[in-house]
């Protein structure tokens, strides 16, 4: 701010600096949509610890690396062995790495929303042009984007690797695109669930624990029940049970429509009709999360 100091001002004399008169602001005010975009980019950067302390960069960066390294290794192996197909299909990768994704959501969802609630910063946002829906949309979009970066980056590594080892461009591109659609849906779903849980648990520690609990317990319960149903020969129940945990929901959607092979016991994916139900359930869940967040923030208000 050196420009505003009159030339005669001795530098570093703080009492004199204090005497500089107040200057108004006549520049542009960019309003709601700009504020929403700013909040989005700040939250997205924050989800990887950018613009925050060094300490808060460690975990997201580490998880990002953990997500990408297996993909890189697979590519290296595939290239070295001159395989014609990647060892793991694109759609399957996120399912295998779900623990890492859950951990990321658990660590970053509370960071995104619980801080503002816990330190009561929310009223400062709502005393400005942005409204509840702007805040919720910015935070939701930011966490979903962060998750998309986390889940799509390894797919990109695999795709580039596959092209380098000349594995059929059209086939790889189609599967890669299907993989991207799948992880996009997964990002929205996980972000929604994570944010809702974090928004009702202002204490950060509880938020982290609650997100991990919901993700792992629901998956554990669902896959156990599916396994029991499978061993008891009631195969038709397997896809129905799969509706009740986020990751199996994604699994079902992609095995029905995105050319994925199901990770359900015996590879019993949902049929076309059941698959439609999976899509409805996933989209409904995302919409419900959004609605719950809006309701939550209308109450917090000022």
């Amino acid at each position: 701010m050196a420009v505003e100091h009159p030339p005669a001002m001795p530098a570093g004399d703080q009492t004199r600096i204090h005497d500089i008169g107040y200057r108004g602001y006549d520049g542009p005010r960019l309003g709601r949509s700009y504020a929403r975009r700013s909040l989005y980019s700040q939250s997205l950067r924050g989800a990887y610890g950018l613009g925050r302390s060094v300490k808060s960069k460690v975990l997201p960066m580490l998880l990002f690396a953990v997500m990408c390294i297996p993909a890189a290794i697979m590519v290296a192996v595939a290239v070295a062995t001159k395989a014609h197909e990647l060892p793991v299909p694109y759609t399957r990768y996120a399912i295998i790495m779900q623990a890492v994704i859950s951990l990321y959501v658990a660590s970053q969802a509370p960071q995104a929303v619980s801080r503002d609630l816990r330190f009561k910063t929310v009223p400062l946002y709502f005393s400005r042009p942005i409204e509840t829906a702007d805040y919720v949309r910015a935070k939701f979009a930011a966490l979903a984007s962060a998750l998309f970066v986390l889940t799509a980056a390894p797919l990109l590594v695999m795709y580039v690797g596959a092209l380098l080892s000349k594995m059929g461009f059209a086939h790889q591109t189609e599967e890669f695109a299907q993989g991207l659609v799948s992880v996009a849906l997964l990002s929205l779903l996980f972000a929604g669930i994570g944010l809702v849980i974090a928004a009702v648990t202002p204490r950060r520690g509880f938020g982290i624990a609650a997100v991990i609990a919901v993700m792992t317990i629901s998956y554990g319960a669902v896959s156990t029940l599916q396994a029991i149903a499978y061993t008891q020969d009631s195969n038709s129940a397997v896809p129905w049970i799969g509706l009740f945990s986020p990751i199996t929901l994604i699994d079902g959607v992609q095995s029905a429509f995105l050319g994925g092979s199901s990770a359900f016991p015996g590879g019993i994916g949902p049929s076309g009709g059941e698959g439609a139900l999976y899509v409805v359930a996933a989209l409904g869940l995302i919409a419900a999360c959004y609605g719950l967040l809006i309701r939550r923030y209308q109450k917090v208000g000022l």
């Binding site: 108004g24 005010r29 700013s38 400005r128 409204e131 000022l302």
Partner: protein
Amino acid sequence: MVRITTVDAVTVIATESLSKRFPRVTALDRLSVDIGPGVTGLVGANGAGKSTLIKILLGLSPASEGRAEVLGLDVATKGAAIRERVGYMPEHDCLPPDVSATEFVVHMARMSGLPPTAARERTADTLRHVGLYEERYRPIGGYSTGMKQRVKLAQALVHDPQLVFLDEPTNGLDPVGRDEMLGLIRRIHTDFGISVLVTSHLLGELERTCDHVVVVDGGKLLRSSSTTDFTQTTTTLAIEVTDSDAHPDGTRAVREALLARGLETHGEAGGLPGAGHILLLTATGEETYDRVRDVVADLGLGLVRMEQRRHHISEVFTGTDEQRKEAVGHGG
């Protein structure tokens, strides 16, 4: 941005039989008040409806009935436009401890719609104006209460609003910090040209700081008038005189002499040291001063002091119900 200059827009805040009813409590009851530019104090006990009023004025909570305008904009329909031109400093703590004041205020400036470069420049300016220097680069978690209050104030001012709402800005401050904050609030208007609505439950501090005071109680308007009206409707004179050989009890001699001339005096209330030597009388005009001077001179005594005692706003509250009604009637 166009500063309000037109004649019909000199009212910064106007409410018209504004009411807010919750299922079990009436927070505001047909409140009608016009507030002009300058520093206005909003006084009331806790739960008097101050925060509810600010919420409605920010366009965040619809009124049950009545209407309100801020800077000529209707709160019911122009909430976003109002919030762009108004700053708000909440009563409670609202700062994340792990970021620096600079980072935090820059972010808040952008939330108010300032472009990135302008947000950084205005942040540096504003933090300096509220009295935060090198420490603004340190995380807020390590700040004293006074410094935190300054950061809260800075985020309310960073977008150069035309009006700021300050909710209990002196809460939790020690006497020195309180005085500094009150001085700063005064400067917001005199130096920055920003109108201020400041709430407090402490009347004395608003008396010194505000041009105008609005008193609310139980959601109703108790009184609205300028601080000079409040404290100078009747002027009380305090007189202290010396004793002399001719009049060993000078105070008594003066009292009797004044009584003889039709001026009744009374002793100072409260058992403060020296209270017995101070005479209080009600000044009705210029001639009262002359008469006191003449009486003291005639008796050959020294006049130690003759000063105006200002009434305190707190008398609005401490008075009996009858006096209160009188005060409301007076305030109109």
